[in-house]
Symmetry: C2
Subunit: 307 residues, 2 copies
């Protein structure tokens, strides 16, 4: 299996839907449960973001190729990216490490250094964890707590017909380089956006823009049109299809009022480019609009160039 | 490897010490960092307990023998036991599941049911998680956060010379039965104890009483004497040596003023027996005192009957 081609398969998505139906949460205590980038839990009268994620050898990284420090860094950065997706400020992290018996003490220290490198960049203390050795492969789990930067978390579910759909950065091919290992979670960008715009919905691009946009549309009860010519294709990506389906970009995709998007695009206030790639529409599903006006469905599984 | 013989080896203990030295935590924001059963983090102006732990196939359970539901239940109960060790009330949990490719959707549901069975008993909502399939074995990570029942967490570090050392329940042999899979975390017992006694220090018995008592003594800067005849040996245990070293009991071991222990032992207010097994002394190390007055060191690695 090649690292980077990480997808939430339909079976996993159905399983997560099943879990959501079982959850039976008190909306006063847990305003947001499973299914968004973070849960929101009320503690001490304040909303706290909680996210947990894992990085697994052979799925999210290839330990023999990337080394233990990069594995630790990616594990922490993936969870921080979930905090970014809610426009949150990270407060603290804990980690579990299932350490293969063959790894040395130095490898363990390297994993910790990687975790810390990603966390320190956002002054997020690593306050605890659990290390256990086993016969299995390296598995790292990271839970991060945060607070919504703007008082309220930005969910996946608030996109409205007419909203502009924007992304940070350029998309595709991250898994061909070390970019999927050493990316910077868009925490600062999300905080800046939340302070200056009315973010209706946001998600981080881990599964691939096509898949993640479908998630956002489904949670918001809307559809979307994406302009093929507008998608910022990364030089690492093979082509537009790759940009829309590769995943592991860990950029932000967000919906906001079109007039605000216009200002944002003109001013470019972030250290990374913001690009409008499309529009939220009533209905459901995502349509890819080609430069010649041809329209075709952009499936959640990504798009294969058909001609 | 037999499940249940789980130990924090000296190499792991040294690694955890190394991590503690790296931590650089702000004591205002993180009053308790790595090294206790939970971290204590100030969130929303309140002290919040945070613990993360993992349950790994071949270490903490044997999936082929116990099935997926018991694996899930144990994973959740282990983290809840860490909340109990701080005299905490669990508030919410998140879980990661690294699911072997060979497992079915039904197996996934069974793991979730197991997690929920343990959590529901303490009205602890499972608010989020991450499920990923991989080529590896089943690894479950559970993070639980809670609040200190008495306002302040009970740490490992407060034991004082002269304190009585008590345990709940009976010790040893848990891994010979399903007890190490289906135990009830001593949350309610810890809350009751914290409400009625001045708990100076507490730990849950996961690694084995000898090891865990050493942890508590080391953190408190004290030593301990254990009366061999007083140790409540579980019928499942082979003998006293087993009771002191088997581990996986998930009972509580705690230090409190001797006069309070006397009342507690007489009244037996818990649903599980409380037994005084010894006394905190100045100095360091743990001494086992036999009925004939013979004294011998009780090493952290457990005790082998020598005659």
């Amino acid at each position: 299996m090649s690292a980077g081609r990480v997808r939430v398969g339909m079976r996993e998505a159905e399983f997560i839907d099943w879990i959501r139906r079982q959850a039976e949460l008190d909306p006063q205590a847990v305003p947001v449960g499973p299914g968004d980038d973070c849960a929101v839990v009320v503690l001490g009268g304040e909303k706290v973001l909680v996210t947990t994620d894992q990085a697994l050898d052979g799925v999210h990284f290839i330990l023999s190729a990337c080394g233990p420090e990069a594995a630790g860094q990616k594990a922490m950065a993936r969870s921080l990216s979930d905090i970014a997706a809610m426009a949150g400020v990270p407060l603290a992290a804990v980690a579990t490490v299932a350490l293969p018996k063959g790894l040395s003490r130095e490898d363990g220290e390297a994993i910790y250094r990687g975790l810390r490198r990603a966390a320190d960049e956002f002054r997020c203390p690593v306050v605890g964890g659990d290390v256990g050795t086993w016969q299995g492969a390296l598995a790292i789990g990271v839970t991060v707590f945060g607070r919504p930067a703007g008082g309220d978390a930005v969910l996946r579910s608030g996109a409205k017909a007419g909203d502009a759909i924007c992304v940070t950065g350029r998309l595709g091919g991250a898994w061909r380089t070390r970019r999927h290992l050493e990316f910077t979670p868009r925490i600062n960008e999300a905080i800046a956006l939340a302070a200056s715009c009315e973010l209706h919905a946001m998600i981080d691009l881990s599964d691939g823009p096509a898949t993640d946009l479908h998630h956002l549309c489904r949670e918001s009860g809307v559809g979307a049109e994406v302009l093929a010519a507008a998608v910022p294709v990364h030089p690492d990506a093979a082509d537009l299809a790759g940009a829309l389906s590769d995943g592991e970009d860990y950029e932000l995709l967000f919906a906001l009022p079109a007039a605000q998007a216009e200002v944002l695009i003109r001013q470019q206030p972030l250290r990374v480019a913001v690009t409008r790639i499309g529009t939220v529409v009533a209905g459901e599903g995502v349509t890819l609009v080609h430069p010649d006006g041809r329209r075709e469905a952009l499936p959640a599984s990504g798009w294969e160039h058909s001609t």
